[in-house]
């Protein structure tokens, strides 16, 4: 589904991603772990199409080149990014925002727009999924939301948008254990054979709730190790120290397969 080959991203003169390769198949959940500053979030935003990046290499989704597409076109193609820091938009209510977003991608895809009444049904199901109260729809997008509400709102948007590929950037950061449980349950409910996910996280904790099919370790702009979920457990015990400034072939790994 997603094919990333030799991806390089620089911001100004500073290289951030230095030749990243990744393939994500339909229905798979991949976790990307790594120390701060390794380029995890930059990778997420390179997928989403943020301005200001110097990009080299290849990103395709179902064979379609994403790199020349604007962010809104990528959303219509099926990419969704759960932001680490969801943006507050005062004065724009959540309901109107969500419906505009859904109808924008439907229009781009040549589908009929969804009316206000039918949309309410879609929104209600998404809200139930993340245990949001109804007044939430009528508040401004993320404005004055708690950290947990913002992250739940990201999952709610994902449920409404029904993407092919969801990239969740540090969705667990700033969540207490109850919020984490709600968010993870929402994500798990949205797993399916046609939907792939990339879960970016610093900590193994989230992966106790969202079991990944594959775990990748990103260090200094590259994926340096890949394996199954036991790789995450290894990182929990040993940290990233073994991957930083070491010859990777000598890193003390157990239970991981490259």
């Amino acid at each position: 589904m997603l094919h990333v080959e030799n991806l390089t991203v620089a911001i100004g003169d500073t290289p951030i991603l230095k030749g990243l390769d990744l393939d994500v198949g339909a229905g798979e959940v991949h976790a990307i772990m790594g120390p701060n500053g390794s380029g995890k979030s930059t990778f997420a935003h390179a997928l989403a199409g943020r301005d200001g990046y110097e990009i080299g290499g290849t990103i395709t989704l179902d064979g379609v080149d994403l790199l020349e597409m604007e962010p809104e076109a990528r959303a219509a193609a099926g990419i969704f990014i759960g932001f680490q820091y969801p943006v507050e938009i005062p004065g724009v209510n959540n309901m109107y925002f969500l419906r505009t977003a859904l109808n924008s991608v439907r229009r781009t895809r040549g589908e009929d727009e969804i009316g206000a009444r039918d949309f309410l049904q879609v929104a209600q199901e998404a809200m139930d999924l993340v245990e949001m109260k109804k007044d939430f729809l009528y508040r401004s997008v993320n404005a004055g939301f708690s950290g947990g509400e913002k992250k739940r709102n990201e999952i709610l948007q994902m449920a409404v948008m029904q993407p092919k590929l969801a990239v969740l950037d540090e969705t667990d950061s700033g969540l207490d254990i109850d919020a984490l449980r709600v968010v993870a349950a929402g994500v798990n409910a949205l797993r399916g054979p046609d939907r792939s996910m990339i879960v970016i996280t610093h900590y193994q904790r989230l992966l106790e709730y969202i079991k990944p099919d594959f775990v990748h370790v990103m260090v200094d702009g590259k994926i340096v190790e890949s394996g199954d979920h036991t790789l995450a457990l290894h990182l929990e015990d040993h940290g990233y120290a073994g991957f930083v400034n070491h010859d990777l072939d000598d890193a003390p790994l157990s239970g991981a397969t490259a």
Binding site: E72, A101, M161
Partner: protein, 404 residues
């Protein structure tokens, strides 16, 4: 017409001949187009032979009583003055009976200037609105400028007097016709008795070849409340000045406004609130959106006089610049001579939030629409103050919005 009024008008007429127009050195007129102001020609109010066809479509659809003034002369045909609600007296100034000297000769806190003298000299007609009651329908006063060959600018007056405990909504729409140079000079004088409550809305939407000079003077008695809403949208130079005097204890003035400039427009708001009684509150909340090469001016003052203890005032002016050529000049001013006062002010100038735009685009919303949503969201913080649905709809449509 009383002798005193005639005397005052005669004096004003005598002054007109020797008037010097404001210059760049006058702080309140610093950003005005001084040459263009000098090209405005005023004279005795004269209705046009024909009211052009483009006027009708510009008048907002608002039910209830209305008075239409064209080139400073009341147009009875276009007005709706029959079956006025109980407690409402609405008439042309020249038609009004009784002793008008008190209403016409009221002295105000704000200094007079060349254009207020011109208004007094030539603004012989206009609206007189007296309210002693609580009408539910909004009262609509429409001022239309139709530049003529003889003189290109008109002057008119609006006088609003609210009796104790009265409550009303008054909408003043200012529009114009055609694409030649001209304009209007409208002076509104408002007096609120004890516990009176007025929502006063100005919709300024003259053609882009016109100049609008609006001035509102308000005096408030104890416990009265003014909610003044300005939508300053039209004209090449669109100016509205407010001088609000909180003269009675516990009076409240809540002023807000939105200016939305495009092209070469300059939209100028000059606000001054005087606190001279104890325990009054005032709020100034103005927002500007400036596109193309437009200029916004917000000069907002609070003047807390000796003895006005317990004053509580807040001022804010937030601006959104949509283009590199757009400009805003924001000047909050504060002068405090009393004790135990709380006065806050703040001003911001920003651009569309790139991070918010990206966030919305990542959800599939195209760039143009994302910008529009952000601009509307910004403007809504003023629009939300409006209680009249009809006015909200009119402004939404005027700003090219389809979300009602």
């Amino acid at each position: 017409m009383s002798v005193a009024t005639l005397a005052s008008r005669t004096a004003a007429l005598e002054q007109v001949g020797s008037l010097s127009l404001p210059t760049k050195r006058d702080e309140a007129w610093r950003y005005a187009p001084h040459k263009a102001l000098g090209r405005l020609t005023f004279g005795p109010a004269t209705a046009p032979d024909v009211v052009p066809a483009d006027v009708a479509g510009q008048i907002p659809e608002i039910d209830g009583p209305r008075l239409v003034i064209v080139n400073g002369v009341v147009d009875r045909g276009r007005s709706r003055l029959d079956s006025l609600p109980a407690g409402v007296e609405l008439a042309g100034l020249v038609d009004s009976s009784g002793d008008l000297a008190g209403a016409l000769e009221r002295q105000h806190e704000g200094a007079e200037d060349a254009f207020s003298v011109i208004n007094r000299a030539y603004g012989t007609d206009g609206a007189l609105l007296r309210i002693d009651g609580r009408p539910t329908e909004a009262i609509h006063i429409i001022d239309v400028a139709v530049p003529g060959d003889g003189q290109n600018a008109s002057a008119s007056r609006v006088i609003i007097e609210m009796a104790a405990g009265s409550s009303a909504t008054v909408i003043e729409t200012r529009i114009g016709s055609g694409d030649t140079f001209g304009g209007s000079n409208v002076r509104t004088e408002i007096s609120l008795s004890d516990e009176a409550n007025l929502e006063h809305i100005i919709l300024q939407d003259l053609p882009s070849t016109h100049i609008h000079l609006g001035r509102v003077d308000v005096v408030q008695a104890a416990g009265s409340t003014l909610r003044a809403r300005l939508f300053n949208l039209g004209s090449d130079y669109g100016r509205v000045a407010y001088n609000v005097h909180l003269a009675g204890e516990g009076a409240h003035a809540n002023l807000s406004g939105l200016y939305f400039g495009v092209g070469q427009q300059t939209l100028d708001q000059q606000i001054n609130v005087v606190h001279s009684a104890m325990n009054c509150t005032s709020r100034q909340t103005y927002r500007g959106v400036l596109d193309d090469a437009s200029t916004g001016v917000w000069n907002g003052g609070v003047d807390v006089r000796r003895g006005a203890d317990g004053t509580d005032s807040e001022q804010s002016n937030d601006n959104l610049l949509l283009s590199r050529q757009a400009e805003v000049n924001t000047m909050p001013r504060l002068e405090i001579l009393a004790d135990e006062v709380s006065c806050q002010h703040g001003a911001t100038v920003g651009q569309l939030d790139e991070e918010a735009l990206y966030y919305m685009r990542s959800r599939g919303i195209p760039q143009d629409e994302a910008s529009r949503l952000l601009i509307n969201g910004f403007a809504d913080q003023v629009m939300d103050d409006l209680e009249s649905e009809a006015v909200r709809t009119w402004i939404s449509e005027r700003l090219g919005r389809n979300d009602g």
